[in-house]
Amino acid sequence: MNNPDESTIQRWLKGELEGNELKQMEAWAEENATELEAKMGWDALGDEIAQALPSEQEPPYADFFNERVKHHAVELVETPPATKASPLWKRFNWILAPTAVAGMVFCFYLGTRIDQETTAIEQSVAVLEEVYTPASGVHSEVIISGDSTVIVLDGLDEIPDALDIVSGETGQGLSPRMMVKTERESFYF
């Protein structure tokens, strides 16, 4: 379509075009969107709308938001999302089973030789089932140190130096102790 006349444009804007005429008008509009906007005197109102309405707005209780997503995405599902098809070499993993059996027999033999100290470490290793850090940017590392289990949390916010926690100062916010667990879960997580 060459330049449509004013009547065609107005009919289009009113939603009155159909079929081929509509397709041609749409194609023309796509090529000449800027001109059409200027013709309509749209720019000023477009800018007003862009300024009046937020393009981005953090949801309330943002940490809780993330944790709820994780809860529904991962924790309520028994198996993680399917990964892509295995590469060819993984399809020969049938050979792993007999190898694994042989390995287990060997390890069992070794295990009968392991002393008390190692047994204590195995018990310590069993201390933790999972460590979950809800805040983004925070990650945990579990270290077995002798007979002790150590969790190292990295990426936490620093407690402000000015906050005198020894004297009893605390940051802002509603104390989670003030709520019963079920109520707290809906407020925080």
């Binding site: 940490d63 944790e67 310590s124 069993a126 201390v127 933790l128 089932e129 999972e130 460590v131 979950y132 850090t133 809800p134 805040a135 925070v138 945990s140 270290i143 140190s145 002798g146 007979d147 002790s148 289990t149 150590v150 969790i151 190292v152 949390l153 936490l156 916010d157 620093e158 407690i159 130096d161 906050l163 926690i165 020894v166 004297s167 009893g168 100062e169 605390t170 940051g171 802002q172 916010g173 509603l174 104390s175 989670p176 102790r177 667990k181 925080y188 997580f189």
Partner: protein, 162 residues
Amino acid sequence: MIIRLFCALTILFTSLGSAADLGKEVIGRMQVQVYFATNGEPSIAGKALKKPSPAVEKKLKSLRRTSFKHYRVLGVDRQPVFRSYENWLTPLKPSEELLLSFEPRGKAQSGKMMLDLELWQSRKKIMKAGPTLEKGKPLYIFGPKWRGGRLLLAIELVELLQ
């Protein structure tokens, strides 16, 4: 006479009520100690803070390959473990900058208790874990940084009544 009767009935009904809620039975005691670990000047955390005992300090220094030079005790709290209710540890009381909530998961077995443990900093949950604790084996957590050092928590099941 009427007052005595009233008191007796109150005690009776209260005890009946408590007995009915087995969930509130105390099955153990949990403790958390918070230490300030730093390579700088330890008095920055507070001038009157005590050092841990030499044995404890040796233990704290052994936890990681890179240990801190100085340790000070910032606070301690000990609370009962209820059979079916969660409870809270507030080691820096009255500050709630660090809080721990805990609740047992099922019955203790072979001297060990599995717990749901949540660590809170500045009223935000920063960690959730499911440790199995036993007496004499604290769980250590290296937590947030503060005043050039780091807070280190030692969480321990100090008593198991089951």
